[in-house]
Subunit: 292 residues, 2 copies
């Protein structure tokens, strides 16, 4: 039996929009996914974009997480400071339109280094809310901008954004390595060689040129160059963590990139615990429940 | 009194071509510089490009260094292995056309990491040949691909290519930092803050996102972002050297980038000795003299 829709949860990111019709006890009864992400919309487009959700799911409250609340999105929902809890995120949600609330992101504003996140906080704290991860943990969320996130007692206390995926895409598309990196990126000997080199070198600008030199000098097969380069970049990323032996890494997200990070963390002496799907809707549900 | 042209030296790079009418004792009597670099020419264009040099300077022998001898240039002059001397470079020069010789590059083929250079070897060994640098030294040649080069007794024994300049250009033109890095890049507080952060972080993928976060959180003035980001990238590059306290760094090349590297090396505890202009023609002259 399908429960009654109590509200609509939306994970509204840079390139995609995922909407979920939710019951009052947090079950998903219907979903919509499309390409109407932040990059595809101007601020004036959002009322119509919301209207399409209402046509599909009904007139219920809409609770949104993600880049829609950034300066590039609909309207800015200002970052809250770490340490950040679900309660604090819920209290700071922005009422952007009648019955539409945007959950803010989290900032490291006054510590030794600045950083920001928007969307990942809901996923991390959602995983904790369901017991899929413990309240004090280290998380990794691979993506265009990989995030390492630390929580203590159910609050996000620290995090670091590493532009690994973006830099890999840039060197693959432009510059002197472009055209050398068209091969498959998958786990294997070349990827693991790259991981090792990346962990040692730590600075990917120093290790990346070796991809070109390796191909020119017949030390690296052209078909292996992309996997090796990916290994170098993910290896430098994982190599920045000096605490991998101390505790498990809770890995968020699935797919090929998560599989590569699993290999990379394991090869670096860490232990990966994969967080099941559903953490984002669980986080939005916990925030909705605070005001329901 | 202007001496008689004995041969023509050409520094033929990726984007520029610099030709010098040389006397038998190594003086420059005439020069030509244009944009007919390797990227502007197909292999079939070189005979005509050589003809224009002969029209200008005469029928003498032409000795060429640089990317013209790469697989993307006129014809490949295969790399010689390190340790590489001027004598070895001269002996391996490729006779590409009547009275036209291309000096090869240098490769690290069998050591722990592969690397290649083409053009810098002539400049480094030329600086040593004139006494502008000692036979055993550490060199830095800033550029799109910064090179750190070590020599022992007048031979290039080791070197490392760091893609600092290319990665800076890529993040400035594309991706999430594009549009944030339009400010001036110059020495100053922001550049030096970036240097410090880069040396600490060492992995620029981890430190670069802080540029965006710093601007979003009003910790970094938008006008300072480019200088800070440049500092981060050059700081990670210089930070990979752990031997800067041991000996001077002989800096090749001039202009704004060399000035920034001078600051970066000095801030990291190193001492810079600037190599005067003319090292490339000195290197070509030494090689020409071997067969003159």
């Amino acid at each position: 039996m399908v429960g009654r829709t109590a509200y609509i949860a939306v994970d509204w990111g840079t390139t995609n929009r995922r909407a979920y019709a939710m019951t009052a006890d947090g079950a998903v009864v219907d979903t919509l996914q499309d390409g109407r992400g932040v990059l595809a919309l101007s601020p004036g487009d959002y009322p119509e974009a919301i209207a399409t959700l209402r046509e599909r799911f009904g007139a219920q409250t809409i609770v949104v997480a993600g880049m829609v609340g950034s300066t590039r999105g609909w309207r800015e929902a200002p970052y809250i400071d770490a340490p950040a809890t679900l309660q604090a995120l819920g209290a700071a949600a922005l009422d952007v339109a009648p019955d539409v609330r945007i959950i803010p992101g989290v900032a490291l504003r006054s510590g030794p280094r600045p950083d920001v996140m928007r969307g990942e906080e809901v996923q991390v704290l959602g995983a904790i809310s369901t017991g899929a991860a413990p309240p004090t943990a280290l998380f990794c969320q691979p993506g265009t901008h990989n995030k390492w996130i630390e929580t203590v007692d159910g609050a996000i206390t620290d995090f670091a954004t590493v532009m690994t995926g973006e830099l890999f895409a840039l060197v693959r598309a432009h510059g002197i390595l472009a055209g050398m990196l068209d091969g498959a990126v998958a786990d294997g000997a070349a990827f693991r060689d790259g991981l090792k080199r990346g962990r040692e070198a730590r600075n990917l600008a120093a290790a990346l040129f070796e991809v070109r030199a390796g191909v020119l000098l017949d030390r690296l097969a052209p078909a292996d160059a992309a996997a090796y380069a990916s290994g170098v970049m993910i290896g430098t990323d994982v190599g920045t963590r000096t605490d991998l032996g101390d505790r498990p890494v809770h890995l968020l997200g699935g797919g090929a990139l998560a599989a590569l990070y699993t290999v990379a963390i394991t090869e670096a002496g860490g232990r990966v615990v994969t967080v099941p799907d559903g953490a984002t809707t669980a986080g939005i549900h916990a925030i909705w429940s605070l005001r329901a």
